[in-house]
């Protein structure tokens, strides 16, 4: 199980000490909350010109680039440990910020409905934001209201329900971070599952006088994937057996955990891949009319655009993949039910989808990065010049480098996806031969998507 793992906590005592301190996580959350508040304020009261507004630039360029190019691929859910959005709700529940306030969480203790114990709400929440994204990305006021509404929903849910129900089941961002964190080379796990099985008090679940029960409602002893662990390290603070490990591991390990694959997550993979392709065409493409439609030039046009968007992500892409799976199954004479294969092979879209998002992000982050310097000095666009950088002209950074980065990222994503495809096929096949045959149609699909991206970026 722990093959190829390196426990960072065992190697780096200072890291363990930092993570064991109750002040560390709140300190980072307070820092991000400061920037979040500034983003919301500048969004509401600053200039309506997006490229001069701190809220737009810092959320959709700086934070976004950091999240999708660095944090998610290399650190998985780490962002969720420092995210400001659930902070007010969590602190209200706990009646404190740093120290462990004795007693249970203060909530109405409602029960989260069983049928929402999955990521479908996150899937539809993301799509809901996605069809409005051209507006949200470019209007500081709208952007601020969307961010504030996330906080508000977080607070309301933490009054009604215990723990981070918002993060786990509702947050549209959390959904894709969870899915793509399957790839990350970092994981929180227990050292020995046997120790957990025999330790009946389960301090990590109920909390101790120095820790809260897992806010993500996850039992560390049965963690096999990163998806729903928010890396808050409450369990590290709780465990009397010193059984928690923070491992370095090979990229993508979790994609091979067969027993936890689910349709809602598979759909998340389709939605994310579809959005990466669509955004690349709509926002970075040369077609002005699509931009007009996405920009709600008329309600009818926007409705058509939204309909097309949803059809492509929810029906067309999954439909084509379904046909690919049918072909793959026939070719190798597999016995596994088709639905199961469809769900399982959809996880090959995780590496490719993330590569697509990174490539898309390279397409606008480097070009528009110089705005960050401007808004740092003049966050509201009111003519301030705090650090003397308010007058920096718009300077695209290495536009000639962008295609190389995009091709490199997409190729790595494609090769990674192929390897995963074969290994998933192997889980369903008697022998190497049929696994290889099964991989071929999947490879065709993955290659077609990659060529689609290349066509949009370079062709």
């Amino acid at each position: 199980m722990s093959e190829g793992r390196i426990d960072l906590l065992a190697r780096l005592p200072f890291l363990k000490a930092i993570l064991n301190s109750r002040a560390f996580q709140p300190a980072l959350m307070l820092a991000t909350l400061f920037f979040f508040t500034l983003a919301a304020l500048t969004g509401l009261f600053g200039t309506p010109a997006g490229s001069r507004n701190f809220g737009i630039i810092f959320v959709w360029i700086v934070w976004w680039a950091l999240l999708i190019i660095v944090l998610v691929p290399f650190f998985g859910r780490l962002w969720c440990a420092v995210c400001p959005i659930p902070a007010p709700g969590e602190w209200l529940q706990r009646r404190g910020i740093i120290s462990r306030v004795p007693g249970r969480l203060r909530t109405l203790r409602w029960r989260w409905p069983r049928r929402f114990k999955n990521i479908w709400l996150q899937n539809f929440g993301f799509l809901g934001v996605a069809i409005f994204s051209t507006i949200i990305l470019t209007r500081p006021g709208v952007s601020a209201w969307v961010l504030l509404s996330f906080v508000l929903v977080g607070v309301i849910l933490s009054i009604l329900y215990e723990n981070r129900v918002f993060c786990r089941y509702v947050c549209p961002v959390g959904g894709f971070i969870g899915l793509y964190s399957l790839l990350a080379p970092l994981e929180l796990r227990v050292k020995d599952t046997q120790v957990c099985r025999e330790h009946t008090p389960k301090d990590c679940l109920i909390g101790t006088e120095n820790s809260y029960g897992c806010p993500w409602m996850v039992f560390p002893g049965s963690l096999t994937r990163n998806t729903y662990c928010g890396l808050c390290t409450e369990c590290l603070k709780a465990c009397p057996k010193d059984n928690i490990a923070l491992n370095l591991r090979p990229f993508g390990s979790d994609l091979l955990v067969a027993k936890e694959r689910r349709l809602d997550e598979a759909y998340k993979a389709f939605i994310m891949l579809g959005c990466a392709l669509l955004y690349s065409a709509v926002l970075l493409g040369p077609w002005g009319w699509i931009k007009d439609w996405a920009n709600m030039e008329t309600p009818a046009h926007w409705a058509l655009y939204a309909l097309g968007f949803l059809t492509i992500t929810l029906l067309l892409l999954p439909g084509l993949f379904w046909l690919t799976t049918v072909a793959a199954r026939r070719l190798a004479g597999q016995q596994t039910p088709l639905r199961r294969l469809f769900v399982d092979y959809a996880y090959t879209l995780v590496p490719l989808g993330l590569a697509g998002w990174i490539a898309f992000s390279f397409g606008f982050v480097l070009v528009n990065g110089s705005y960050a310097l401007v808004v740092l000095s003049d966050p509201f666009g009111w003519g301030w010049n705090l650090f003397g950088t308010a007058g920096v002209p718009w300077t695209p950074l290495w536009p000639r480098l962008i295609p190389f980065l995009q091709v490199g990222t997409l190729t790595i994503g494609l090769l990674f996806a192929l390897d995963i495809a074969y290994r998933i096929a192997r889980q369903h096949s008697r022998d190497h031969h049929s696994a290889f045959l099964t991989t071929l149609p999947i490879a065709g699909f993955l290659a077609a998507v990659t060529v689609g991206f290349l066509r949009l970026y370079l062709g």
């Binding site: 490229s51 040369p286 007009d292 070009v367 528009n368 295609p403 889980q427 062709g459």
Partner: protein, 168 residues
């Protein structure tokens, strides 16, 4: 289970060498000679939030003369890879002249903040033949073929499912 990293074995290197060479060749072979350069006059109109035409094709070596106009507010023009930058006011045509000596696709973008969608006001100049695109395509497909060959030769190795679906 002792495991040597398969990617480093001689067998793998022998297997992947042809693909690596092919990729290298695709990267390095000189582009085909282009047709004789000509002068290309293009009128480009900027409106919120697009350029018309949104896509311009020229041949490598062509002298490109763009007449840029704006039909609503002040816009700009910035050409990736060529570094050209201008500003255009409604009613005052701008002339942009350059030799398209680099092949590939280069985006031209509005360079003057002109409204919410300004950062996405983008057009495409394709300087053909679009050798970088074909090279990229060739490299990616060669990598794909190499990967399939690598997966195929796993035949001899025992591949264990880390957590097989039926193990519980």
């Amino acid at each position: 289970m002792p495991r040597t990293p398969a990617i480093l074995s001689w067998r793998t290197i022998r297997l992947l060498l042809p693909f690596a060479l092919l990729a290298l060749a695709l990267w390095l072979i000189p582009a085909p000679a282009t047709s004789a350069p000509s002068v290309r006059r293009i009128s480009l109109e900027a409106t919120q939030y697009q350029f018309t035409p949104g896509r311009v094709r020229v041949n490598q070596g062509d002298r490109v003369i763009i007449t840029l106009t704006s039909s609503d507010v002040v816009h700009g023009f910035y050409l990736d890879g060529y570094g050209l930058k201008t500003r255009v006011e409604p009613g005052v045509a701008q002339r942009i002249e350059f030799v398209a000596d680099r092949p590939g696709k280069f985006r031209y973008r509005c360079a003057v903040s002109c409204g919410p969608l300004h950062p996405f006001m983008i057009g495409e100049l394709v300087v053909g033949p679009n050798v970088p695109f074909w090279r990229a395509l060739g490299l990616t497909l060669t990598a794909l073929a190499g990967m399939l060959a690598y997966l195929w030769q796993r035949r001899g190795q025992q591949e264990t499912a880390e957590v097989s679906p039926d193990s519980r």
